[in-house]
Symmetry: C2
Subunit: 527 residues, 2 copies
């Protein structure tokens, strides 16, 4: 029987304990239990985001937490080593999902869906080196919004960015800026500078480090580590320091005849022009910074790329003012005069850690890092369809992934700063008895309140002591207590006492005597 | 680079395809993607349940989807073989959670928490033989509510049952009955009948099959398969046919002097008496059936056990009337006259399948089976604490697990029967242009509606065709369309047309011309 098994287990474990290899009550490395307060705050974040997803007409899907191993294979480059595999217990080989994007692309290809707006909130899994104190976990939530379908240029892209601004505004995480760039413009710059075709990706990934390394260091990586001609590096440097308000940067680049002579750069700049027009209509262009140093890690992006940062993206020491500076005024510095960024001085404390998709900023040293990131990926769905031997047109996609854990960290910090009470549950009324226990009376009263939608608790004891009941109500910050006493019940009344708010007047406040049948209305007025 | 990797992968897979072992676009065995309509209905179920959890003062936690393997070891008897293990990739050995109860007990023991009301909605994993058409999956949602703590007898138990009745009432799944029994009474009956100590659990598990097997078959299992003396089996048979309204069955058992002479039976009956008093206060006693044939599979139960069934728990063929029969009138039949139950004739189609915790009724043959089940388990938390070498008092628990997938099946069926439209998203307004494309005008109008909380979509094309826009609105059953046309915009108006509802008057209905600045108010009145 199971009980016997458990006893045997217990003995066995007891022995292990004595011999030094004790049974450990813990969660697996890189995972945590979310306590009630934390779970509730996360739920509020999800609720806020969902209310905006649906305003944009997005629907949601739920895919399995594990996928066939071959679905994930070859999608994450060297980060594939971070994928959790399930043990081969007979049958198919499976792995835990690494993000929500690949399952979405698989879903579209598998079902032959050619257009969809979908959001998905779910946990993803990465066997990365966890930094629990910094919020880098092996199990964490992602919250994705993607638009798939063949549409006119930059319209869905503008929708995603409008959504992003609405979402970050609603989340109450302070000021934010969306850095944006275009893969085709970057490609054009590399072509103009003369980067050899086979070095494009590695040089692009060096550029992407400009938000946490100085140009000198990046240049060194390009020339020394990656063998790029210093002349070419300097040519790149002329461009990647460029950032600022959209129209300003765009006009400067459009005036650059050499660059406009490169086909891909020209196409990328035309995209940006259209995008800025649409973002003006949506009233969010002032949140954008056209930033030539943004390159993004993932290789599957094919067009527009973006990343949102907040005032809390920088570490406290590097934050001079409580509000984020507006996107830097337009700069076209040469490499040597590239202005020092607030977060650039911070040194990566664990440089050899594997860089993960939405981890473009190393949060161990520079605050929470970017809080959302994404871009256009036009080929991923088609690759699935083709790999499965289906002939089908491409399904172009554009999407955004919001870093829920980082949003959580910021909201948590802001709540603490405002000294807001954080409740793990939101009970409205605690029903207590002074004298006589009155268990069934408390039950009946609680039932009446609950039947009227009031969140109500009472102590599960036949004759609870008064101090224990008061303590239970206080511990959970319950705003109202209902006091049942034999004499008052006799005359059909209860005492309602507000614990917080303007009518809560210290310990002398004995509450107000209210008829039992009027208690619901009386309480509802005070909630 | 990754793109190259993917190209290589594609080629490789293309080759495999040709050689017959093609790349398959599918989800792992026993898992499914939940499409938007299904995801939305599940979210509504969760939302309904959560609104009731909080009325009972429950808070929620979120634990990792995998646990250290040793945490799960020895908790599920022979069903342990159904646990998914993660591959050993270096580091700790982990397994996917099998239920939400063991992680809760681990959480309490690990954090030294001695009292808590918690609910948890999450997916659990079992490598069982899936029966997709019947809803038995390898990945499925559980929704648990548990009360932990040292309280007075049967008070938390009554709360859990009151919650259960509130929840099933709110879920709109038709009539339901809660079958209940007490492990101590069952133990007393076995003691009285003379069941040898070492056969108690296996005989108990035979009794538990009475809801899908005849007494003759169960008796045969006891005597032939499990070697029980037929005289003892018949003695058990005198009791396990007993069921009916709580007070009736209780009084009959209390009048049984032999049974009352058995200590554990007497204690169990005292518990039931108290419970019925409390359930009367909560107004839910009429939903209960005291059923001596209920034994429940899991060994860790130590007191009260219960299971909720609905009219849809039986298969359609065995359902004589559209409404569930009230709990059978009290019967005290001898084994041979045990009344045939509605679902008893149905034969298990795959008897050798492993029986899982909340799978007491085989849903492959008898409808959706029980839709909720639980009981009291007073020793599980203490076992964890002790196993970890901590000295600590027991933390008694009582809880319920709601079978979300079965609730979903019933709600889905009822919606279909009522011919309710099921929408994958709930867009309020589709903004379309008749003539001229008007992309920026549609964007601006959509933004205005969204800023006022109205869920709005438009087509992501510069010059969409009229039929394509109407089709998009119709496909998603969007209730209102806003029609933008050059001439009307010129004069500051749009046309608002209701697609459904009392003002939707066929194709001739051209909608109502409304000033742009009054459109929000006009639309809000009609949503």
């Amino acid at each position: 029987a199971e009980v016997d098994e458990m006893k045997a287990l217990k003995e066995q474990l007891g022995k292990d304990k004595k011999s030094g290899s004790g049974f450990q009550l813990k969660t697996p490395k890189g995972t945590v239990d979310h306590r009630p307060e934390a779970t509730l705050l996360r739920k509020k974040i999800f609720h806020t985001l969902e209310s905006i997803f649906v305003k944009y007409g997005a629907s949601t899907i739920d895919t399995p937490v594990f996928e066939l191993r071959e679905i994930l294979a070859g999608k994450y480059g060297e980060d594939s080593k971070l994928i959790y595999d399930l043990q081969d217990q007979g049958g198919e080989l499976c792995s835990l999902r690494y993000d929500l994007t690949v399952p979405f692309a698989r879903y579209l290809a598998m079902n032959g869906i050619t257009s969809m707006k979908r959001y998905h909130i779910g946990k993803v899994y990465r066997r990365d080196q966890p930094v629990v104190t910094k919020g880098r976990m092996r199990e964490f939530f992602q919250c994705d919004f993607d638009i798939a379908g063949v549409y006119d240029s930059m319209v869905p892209d503008a929708e995603v960015l409008s959504f992003l601004c609405d979402a970050l505004t609603a989340l109450d995480i302070g000021e934010f800026t969306v850095k944006m760039n275009h893969r085709k413009i970057l490609d054009g710059i590399f072509e103009l500078a003369g980067v050899p075709q086979d070095k494009t990706r590695s040089i692009s990934s060096a550029v992407d480090k400009l938000d946490k390394m100085s140009w000198a260091d990046v240049r060194k990586e390009m020339t020394v580590d990656k063998g790029l001609d210093p002349v070419i590096a300097d040519k790149i440097g002329e461009y990647v320091g460029l950032k600022g308000p959209g129209w300003d940067v765009l006009k400067k680049l459009e005036a650059d005849e050499k660059l406009m002579g490169i086909e891909s750069a020209k196409a990328g700049l035309a995209d940006m022009r259209l995008l800025f027009e649409y973002l003006e209509v949506f009233g969010v262009l002032d949140k954008m910074s056209f930033d030539m140093s943004l390159a993004r890690g993932l290789d599957y992006y094919t067009g527009l790329i973006y990343e949102a940062i907040t005032e809390f993206s920088a570490p406290p020491s590097a934050r001079p003012t409580p509000s984020v500076p507006a996107p830097d005024a337009m700069t076209s510095s040469t490499p040597t005069s590239l202005p020092a960024k607030a977060d650039k001085k911070a040194k990566s404390s664990d440089k050899d850690k594997a860089k993960t998709e939405d981890d473009a900023v190393d949060e161990a040293s520079v605050g929470v890092g970017s809080i959302a990131a994404g871009g256009r990926y036009d080929n991923l769905v088609g690759m699935f369809a083709e790999a499965a031997g289906q002939k089908r047109d491409q399904v172009p996609c554009v999407g955004i992934s919001i870093g829920v854990e980082r949003v959580y960290s910021i909201m948590e910090m802001r709540r603490k700063n405002r000294e807001e009470k954080i409740r793990g549950k939101e009970t409205d009324v605690y029903v207590l008895a002074l004298g006589g226990g009155l268990l069934k009376e408390r039950m009946a009263f609680a039932k009446m309140l609950r039947d009227n939608g009031i969140k109500t608790e009472f102590m599960y004891k036949a004759k609870p002591k008064a101090p224990a009941q008061w303590k239970a109500a206080d511990d959970d910050h319950v705003p109202i207590v209902a006091i049942l006493a034999p004499a008052e019940l006799e005359s059909g009344t209860v005492r309602i006492k507000q614990q917080v708010g303007k009518d809560a007047a210290g310990e002398e406040n004995k509450g107000v005597e209210v008829k039992v049948e009027e208690a619901v209305a009386y309480i509802k007025q005070r909630l």
